[in-house]
């Protein structure tokens, strides 16, 4: 039987932990409805400002980082909050909530003064939103006006503004924080003290995507000019995990995790790091709302495989294993080990260790150990016997014997870099080093 993925977060029941993050995919009721129809458990309506706030968009506003054949390792945007009129959007929120009572509707918002924050929060609550998410974290466009990440980088401003919103409404309030700080914990602590229900982490990472080599224009080039923007997508996942884990472990406040999730495996990692729900944006923009199917199905099968009854059992499960560097053991060490049966003899580990490590790995060479050496090619011909022989031969000699890497245990410091370059799963592993005989 398929596992239920429903989860409670900040007192709100989510049919599944996957929520569309505040971004272009949530900029209209029509879009969000398609997302809900596809199976998303919730959505954060793209950030709203008050009607008098001017939103001056530029174009283009997005550019992707390409690496070899992968054209969207990361995405940089210089988009702004929604340019839609709040007076149009809020009725849509009410309508959506009526049509999708089970899905969780969160509205993201941004404002300046206390009055503005309170006003917009009340109007959102009145529209029937389940939760509010306050953006204290947009890294471009808003900080210049004293909003966005200018708030989220300052613990006191965060405390003050979070308090205004919490005071104004009864529904749970999430504060979306910026990773453009050295440590998010003091800020998350202030969010907690201000009475907010939780934090959303992380917003985009402030970045400069690149340059056009012909025009020298930074990217995305707006008529030859650009500005640092917000970076998202798979490239930021490790950064997101670190911030989420920091906050979940040390501040003990619910975290809506966001930043680079593409697959259900990413989502599991977010849960392990302490995220209670998982928001997704860039992957949806790229692959469409349908990827929810892979997220929910993959996660349900994982629960089944692990024999877990609910998602709650996973949340924060990895946190106790995150310790300080000095608390890591020095008792046991590892040493690189090559599975000769799997090795294809590319020598990537040889290069990696020679030029990026400690010169501990070399090809065995012609004069090396002859064990596993293939029989000489037998006479040609056909028939089962020969086919079997050739299969055996292949098995014995995936790599030519002289190209099997040999690890010098004395030189190997167990850094593990070689393992990261090996193209064959499970071929190069780090094995516990046997204690040297006394």
């Amino acid at each position: 039987m398929k596992k239920s993925l429903s989860v409670d977060f900040c007192g709100v029941r989510f049919p599944n932990p996957f929520v569309l993050a505040a971004a272009p995919p949530t900029d209209s009721a029509e879009m969000i409805a398609r997302g809900f129809d596809a199976g998303w458990g919730g959505a954060v309506v793209k950030t709203l400002g008050l009607e008098q706030v001017e939103v001056n968009l530029v174009s283009p506003m997005m550019a992707g980082l390409k690496y070899e054949d992968k054209n969207l390792i990361g995405l940089e945007n210089i988009d702004l909050i929604s340019d839609r009129d709040i007076r149009e959007v809020l009725p849509e929120v009410r309508d959506l909530k009526n049509r999708y009572p089970d899905q969780v509707l969160i509205v993201s918002m941004m404002a300046g003064t206390e009055d503005e924050w309170k006003e917009i929060a009340r109007r959102v609550e009145d529209a029937g939103a389940d939760m509010i998410e306050c953006s204290f974290s947009c890294p471009h466009g808003m900080p210049e006006r004293g909003m966005g990440s200018a708030v989220g980088q300052d613990a006191d401003l965060t405390y003050e503004r979070a308090g205004w919103v919490v005071e104004a409404v009864d529904i749970p309030v999430l504060i979306k924080l910026t990773p453009n700080v050295t440590d998010m914990r003091p800020i998350a602590q202030k969010v907690k003290e201000a009475g907010a229900a939780g934090v959303t982490a992380i917003n985009t990472v402030k970045a400069l995507l690149g340059f056009d080599l012909d025009t020298f224009a930074p990217l995305p080039s707006v008529w030859g000019k650009s500005t640092a923007g917000g970076y998202s997508g798979p490239a930021v996942k490790p950064i997101a995990l670190r911030f989420i884990a920091d906050v979940a472990k040390d501040v003990e406040i619910p975290v809506a995790g966001v930043g680079g999730v593409v697959t259900w495996k990413d989502a599991v990692e977010f849960l392990l790091a302490g995220a209670g729900i998982v928001q997704v944006c860039t992957a949806v923009m790229r692959y469409g709302y349908d990827i929810i199917e892979e997220l929910t199905e993959g996660l349900a099968l994982y629960l089944e495989d692990k024999g877990l009854d609910s998602l709650a059992e996973l949340v924060g499960k990895g946190l106790p294993n995150i310790v300080s560097h000095e608390d890591l053991t020095r008792e046991h060490t590892v040493v690189a080990s090559v599975d000769e049966d799997l090795c294809i003899g590319c020598g990537a580990c040889v290069i990696a260790c020679r030029d990026g490590g400690h010169q501990a790995i070399e090809f065995r060479g012609a004069g090396g150990d002859a064990e596993g050496l293939a029989p000489e090619n037998s006479e040609g011909g056909s028939g089962t016997a020969v086919d079997e022989a050739s299969t055996d031969r292949e098995r014995a000699t995936l790599a030519p014997p002289e190209r099997i890497p040999v690890v010098d245990d004395e030189k190997c410091i167990g850094c593990g870099f070689c393992r990261t370059v090996c193209p064959v799963d499970g071929c190069l592993t780090m094995q516990k080093r046997e204690e040297a005989p006394a």
Partner: protein, 446 residues
């Protein structure tokens, strides 16, 4: 079949990677330590390095690296049997199939075409070399010699360069116009070409002032079987047949074609006949499928295209009606003794006689050397005898390589020979000019 349809059928097949496809394929390269692909290239192309350049977007650098090692960049990308060379050794084969080195080299050949490729700075030096034969071997030697600053004259009896590349390989495998364009690089390096000039005895070139001669004239004398009915209209020799196709004047092959032979030329002729509109094409070879000298990849392609094989058979006669071919008769054979795949070792198997209706019979049983090298010592099979290391012939100052020595190999092997011969020639002429500088006369060295 209309002329237009024929032309379309003969147009070069496959296509060159788009840049993003090339990067994707190149990123499959494991960038091995001590890369085995490199060891597989007779021309000494640094495969790993050129693929790395493609991977990181340095397409022109890749083109230059390959061209420096092998002037046949795009050509070898199209015609090399890579599955037997660099790609056979590809480490990635053990994982999920070899990197498409051939396709990448084809891409690189287009990335910076030979007519705009930068030329090396050439420091001219003493020495004048004649190259006889503008095929892959001769041109590779000419390029190496020019790069070293030696004056080079290339002689070829044909009016186009390329030898078998432009007159033997069917245009659907290699566009002759592309090949000619790529080969003009050798002219740009400063070699003087004498097309349409038949050279008699290469040794005479030494007397007319050349310091050394490189002979790489290939195999252009077709063998004939000597069959009953060979004089009939519709019987052709593969070499002539393919040369006419390459020249844009294909012969009419009718509906049913029999090709006799089991080598690459036979496969090319048969595949070409199919494209010229033949409905059935039979390949009748003495050898079994495994014994055929054709590259496995060519046999595979031929089979996929629908050629019908009659292997381990021997031709008996060509049947005619009103002076034209109307049929072909053959008989199954077995080898009297193992090992020797030659007609004299074949023994008819009674009861295996067969006859095929045919409009055209193409003989593709191999080619030999033109017997005009009277002063050069030859081997029993008529091929030129050379020192295996230096490619020097029996006559001092005359070197030879390519098919005229090997009896039939690949273009890239001929390139390798040309490069090796150039090296020997450079050492040789350095020696004689040193002698001249010492005051000795160079004319009596023979």
């Amino acid at each position: 079949m209309s002329l237009k349809a024929v032309r379309e059928q003969l147009t070069e097949e496959g296509r060159t990677y788009a840049p993003h496809e090339a990067v994707l394929e190149a990123s499959r390269c494991l960038m091995c330590e001590d890369p085995p692909c490199n060891a597989g290239c007779p021309a000494g192309v640094d495969v790993r390095r050129f693929i790395r350049k493609v991977r990181f977007g340095n397409f022109r650098g890749a083109a230059r690296l390959v061209r420096d090692a092998n002037i046949l960049v795009g050509i070898c990308g199209r015609v090399c049997p890579q599955e037997m060379l660099c790609m056979e050794n590809c480490t990635r084969a053990a994982l999920d199939g070899p990197v498409d080195i051939a396709g990448l080299q084809r891409f690189v050949g287009d990335a910076e075409l030979a007519d705009i490729a930068p030329l090396p700075e050439i420091a001219e030096r003493k020495g004048r070399v004649a190259v006889v034969g503008a095929g892959p071997g001769g041109l590779a030697a000419a390029a190496e010699l020019r790069r070293a600053g030696v004056a080079v004259d290339v002689f070829d009896s044909s009016d186009v360069s390329g030898g078998v590349l432009t007159r033997g390989i069917p245009p659907f495998r290699l566009d002759p116009a592309f090949a000619e364009g790529e080969l003009r690089y050798v002219e740009r390096l400063g070699a003087a070409f004498h097309h349409g000039e038949e050279v008699g005895d290469p040794v005479e070139l030494l007397d007319s002032g050349f310091d050394a001669v490189f002979v790489s004239t290939g195999l252009w004398r077709p063998y004939r079987i000597g069959l009953e009915g060979e004089e009939l209209k519709g019987v052709m020799l593969a070499g002539e047949f393919l040369a006419r196709v390459a020249g844009g004047d294909p012969a009419d092959v009718g509906r049913t074609v029999v090709v006799i032979g089991g080598g690459n030329v036979a496969m090319d002729a048969a595949s070409t006949a199919l494209r010229l509109g033949a409905e059935r094409v039979y390949v009748c070879s003495l050898e079994s499928r495994d014994e055929m000298p054709a590259f496995p990849s060519e046999i595979e392609v031929a089979q996929r295209e629908g050629l019908e094989f009659r292997t381990r058979t021997r031709p008996v006669r060509i049947v005619g009606r009103d002076g034209s071919v109307s049929g072909y008769e053959g008989v199954g054979i077995r080898w009297k003794a193992p090992g020797a795949l030659v007609p004299s070792n074949a023994e008819d198997l009674p009861g295996t006689e067969f006859s095929l209706a045919a409009d055209c019979v193409i003989e593709a049983i191999g080619q030999g050397v033109h017997d005009r090298f009277e002063s050069l010592e030859l081997r029993e099979n008529g091929l030129v005898r050379v020192d295996e290391e230096t490619l020097a012939t029996s006559v001092e100052g005359v070197f030879a390589g390519g098919d005229v020595v090997s009896g039939g190999g690949t273009a890239v092997q001929a390139v390798a020979d040309g490069k090796r011969a150039a090296e020997s020639i450079l050492a040789y002429i350095e020696g004689i000019h040193d002698d001249e500088d010492d005051g000795e006369k160079g004319g009596e060295r023979r």
